[in-house]
Amino acid sequence: MFNRLISNDQPRSRLLAAVLIVILLGLAFAPFFFPGVKALSVAAKVLIFVVLVAGFDLLLGYTGIVSFAHTMFFGIGAYGIAISSNTWGPTWGAIGLGFALSLALTLVLSLAIGLFSLRVRAIFFAMITLAVAAAFQTLASQLSDFTGGEDGLSFKLPELLLPSTEFSDEPFLGVSLDGRLLCYYLLFVLAVGMLLSLLRIVNSPFGRVLQAIRENEFRAEAIGYRVVVYRTLSSVLSALYACVAGAMLALWLRYNGPDTSLSFEIMMDVLLIVVIGGMGTIYGAAIGAVLFLLAQSYLQDLLRLASEASVAVPLLSSLLSPDRWLLWLGLLFVLSVYYFPTGVVGRLRARAALRALATSKQG
């Protein structure tokens, strides 16, 4: 039963299974385990990025397409909610309509990009999506009447999701039961559901064909798979996931702007998370997102401690200054490529496989 829930895609490593369970429980009970505004924000961001990155993994890890336009769809999802709530007011209807419109726009754009992807070489495609994404970001900041320009949009949500809505006067286990908590669990359910459905997709006959296309597109076509169709479908699906993730982001932040959902920086974060977690594994998205977002959110705090400890050493302390946190993030980029060529998931699985080999030899 459980096996079918995860589409028979077992973690294939006991340690990996344990890590995944810890992450799942941690996120499920985050409001109770880690009280506080910041901790909950980090947890929510993990949920959002799990969906965003897992969708990207479908494209990159399974289909082998490098696209920099993923955040464009993330932005479309976020703007869908933001613009509709802003123009039509904080109602469920507005959210629903905005979400539907953004899905439709995503569908059209990703279809166009997907079809285009076959016309040009892979590397050209990557660079073109980079330029398109940049243009889209510019466009979003130019259409300021509509999108709020550089300033972005702050908007309200239906009462139910606002922090000011208290469902009970008594806090439960020290946590007040308010709209924000409800919003968190809405995201949680969405994220888990999206992840399971993606597992289903990559483990379907369709998912297998995607892998074949990644390995050798020419041969996949030769044995009878219409590559164009599969690629397009994959890029559309992946874009839709990004769009949903964007909507989740907007719901959580009640704000959206070009920097928040469209920036190239986010694209890089997504890439890094896929690589840290392990490409073509889906589970990697969860692990990578947790690792990366924890690092990103708490690196500055960590550095503050480190630089206080090293005040005596002038150069070191200026390198360890929390203001230079990006330096260490950059180092994380470099080191993760060095030490996790197959990502955390790949590493754990290889370890488990070696062990199995060793025991089978003994036995």
């Binding site: 490098v66 040009v120 990557a126 330029a131 990006l326 330096l327 470099v334």
Partner: protein, 328 residues
């Protein structure tokens, strides 16, 4: 010469055709001349910045997102060198100004080359042939480098005043042609000629392209491809450093983020050029420079998207850029 016989001349016409098409739209001849010369010169500066990237990306197939770092580095080194030579830059005489700018260029190139050497060793070497990892690791390198620039020079913008004699414009009738842009054209042409000579008249270009396809085979033929790759990367970085000096002097101030700011632009240029063709990159850069000026004059709102539109148009005509180099 055989060399010229093989050349596909149609892309060469793009630049004059674009310029001529713009004339009637702009109307005034002097305005057109101002815009055209300025655009061509801007193209040259962009070409200098992008030329290193065509080498590294086009020949070695390394997607170096850290290229902008070397541009920024070159510019920052120039602020230090020129800052130390205030007497020379402040003087109004041409030769004294050149004497100040030349060492700035040389030192900037040397520093960029040295950092490029380290960058190749620690950042690029483990990921030859793996685009995705190249993107990530060079982005990481770029971030680290940018932060180190902030540690050394501080996070604020630094002025890089243009030497006296290079300021102002030469007047041709009613058209103003900035002196500095003329210098940029000269430097750009020199870089172009040197690159064409090395790649066209020696085996180096061939070896690198072969090495990208099958490194083991090139080694089996007895060539130390590693050294060559290091060399190309270092040269590419040095050219970026030179580009940084030119760009910094043009802007007259430098900020640590400047490398990241020009990254997309130079990628567009080399895509238009066909990834790895020096001539293509030059054409791409000139087109970008002209297009920006013409649309900036005719429809400033659209200027933002002029590069993208240009790239899309070129790729519809030739899906692999104006001078496709390789089937990658």
């Amino acid at each position: 010469m055989k060399f010229f016989e093989d050349i596909d001349t149609r892309p060469l016409l793009l630049v004059p055709v674009l310029a001529l098409l713009a004339w009637p739209l702009i109307g005034s001849g002097s305005t057109w001349l101002t815009l055209t010369v300025a655009g061509l010169a801007m193209g040259m500066i962009i070409f200098i910045m992008a030329s290193g990237l065509t080498l590294v990306f086009g020949l070695m197939d390394v997607l170096n997102f850290g290229h902008g770092l070397f541009i920024a580095l070159g510019a920052f080194v120039a602020t230090s060198v020129l800052g130390a030579m205030g007497d020379w830059t402040g003087s109004g005489e041409w030769w004294r100004n050149m004497v100040a700018v030349l060492p700035a260029m040389v030192v900037a190139m040397a520093v960029a080359a040295a950092v490029g050497l380290a960058f190749e060793r620690f950042i690029v070497r483990p990921v030859y042939g793996q685009h995705l990892k190249q993107i990530l690791i060079t982005m990481g390198g770029m971030i680290i480098g940018e932060e180190l620039i902030k540690v050394i020079w501080g996070p604020q913008q630094i002025a890089l005043p243009l030497p006296e004699a290079m300021r102002g414009a030469v007047l041709v009738g009613d058209a103003a042609i900035e002196k500095y842009r003329l210098l940029a054209v000269a430097v750009g042409l020199a870089v172009f000629a040197a690159q064409m000579w090395v790649l066209g008249r020696t085996k180096i270009g061939l070896l690198i392209r072969a090495g990208v396809q099958d490194r083991e085979m090139v080694e089996s033929l007895g060539y130390r491809i590693r050294r060559l790759f290091v060399g190309v990367f270092v040269v590419g970085s040095a050219l970026a450093g030179l580009g940084g000096v030119m760009w910094g002097l043009y802007q007259q101030n430098v900020v640590p983020q400047m490398g990241a700011q020009v990254n997309v632009l130079i990628f567009i240029v080399i895509i238009i050029g066909g990834l790895g063709s020096t001539g293509g990159a030059l054409i791409g850069a000139l087109l970008v420079g002209l297009m920006a000026n013409y649309t900036g004059f005719l429809a400033p709102k659209l200027a933002l998207f002029s590069n993208i539109a240009l790239m899309a148009g070129i790729l519809l005509w030739r899906p692999q850029g104006v001078y496709p180099v390789a089937n990658r």
